[in-house]
């Protein structure tokens, strides 16, 4: 229960940070992405503030043997860059540039109830489900063996492990 409450508080603080920092204003996001127009670099400061703060604090956090309310810290050893990573990030960026929303700011903006935001969020959730369906279909098509591009159990397991990185890191 405490863990659920803390997650809720973290979400709340995250939303306030996004709001104060300008990420929940799609015009600002578009201004940041519009390098050939009147470029607005202010969101670089948001990025720097978030990355810098987390880079320092996570070091202190990870000195603990375990999280306060959970059994273990996530294992995030994989650093392999593959086509899925690059292709997925490319698609993501196109969607981000089309509407000026990424997942966090879109969810924060739901509260305001603009039809465009609700449509975007519904489509985003559908896109996540579609990925799940596509992923299971791919795994069924090449279940085991060398065709999967790895050791026998490596096919599905590797995919799952990646999603784990994915699922728990993103």
């Amino acid at each position: 229960m405490k863990a659920v409450l803390m997650a809720g508080l973290a979400g709340l603080l995250f939303a306030v940070g996004l709001g104060i920092g300008g990420m929940t204003d799609p015009a600002r996001v578009m201004g940041f992405l519009d390098v050939a127009g009147a470029w607005d670099p202010s969101l670089l400061f948001l990025m720097a503030g978030a990355v810098g703060t987390h880079a320092v604090l996570r070091r202190f956090v990870l000195r603990r043997p375990q999280p306060v309310l959970a059994p273990a810290f996530p294992k995030l050893a994989q650093t392999r860059v593959d086509r899925k990573l690059v292709g997925g990030a490319a698609l993501f960026g196109i969607g981000w540039g089309l509407a000026g929303y990424c997942p966090g700011p879109a969810l924060v903006s739901v509260a305001k109830g603009a039809p465009t935001v609700l449509l975007f969020v519904a489509a985003m959730l559908a896109g996540m489900s579609l990925f799940r369906g596509w992923e299971s279909a791919m795994l069924r098509r090449k279940p085991l063996g060398p065709a999967a591009g790895g050791p026998p159990i490596g096919g599905p397991r590797a995919g799952e492990g990646e999603r784990q990185h994915v699922g728990s890191t993103s």
Partner: protein
Amino acid sequence: MNPFLLSLLGGVLIGISASLLLLFNGRIAGVSGITAGIVTPASGDVAWRAAFVGGLVLGGALLAVFLPRALGAPVVSGVGVPVLAGLFVGFGSRLGGGCTSGHGVCGVARGATRSLVATSVFVATGMGTVFVMRHLMGGA
């Protein structure tokens, strides 16, 4: 306050939030991954995910009351563009294993190569998309 300082302050709050989630829950503050775990539940840990997303929405409600200009008006309209954008963001974030928070903040903060690459790629294609829409097609 100066928009650069406000953005920096907002970023610091995001960094603190991500660190609190790691400290207490042992979780990475990646919004797309957290959300996807509710949409397609695989593990039995929906509660904390729902709470985090609930916190985001509640935070949005607080912003709407106390800082209404933070929630800017959408820059696109109609049905086609928002739906296409949402589908790309949802599918792409899962395929690429993260979004602006998971890769862009948490992954970059820990110096992960995957996240540095993903962040560079989505910022580049985002900029490319805006360039095409605004300067080649003259829309949006």
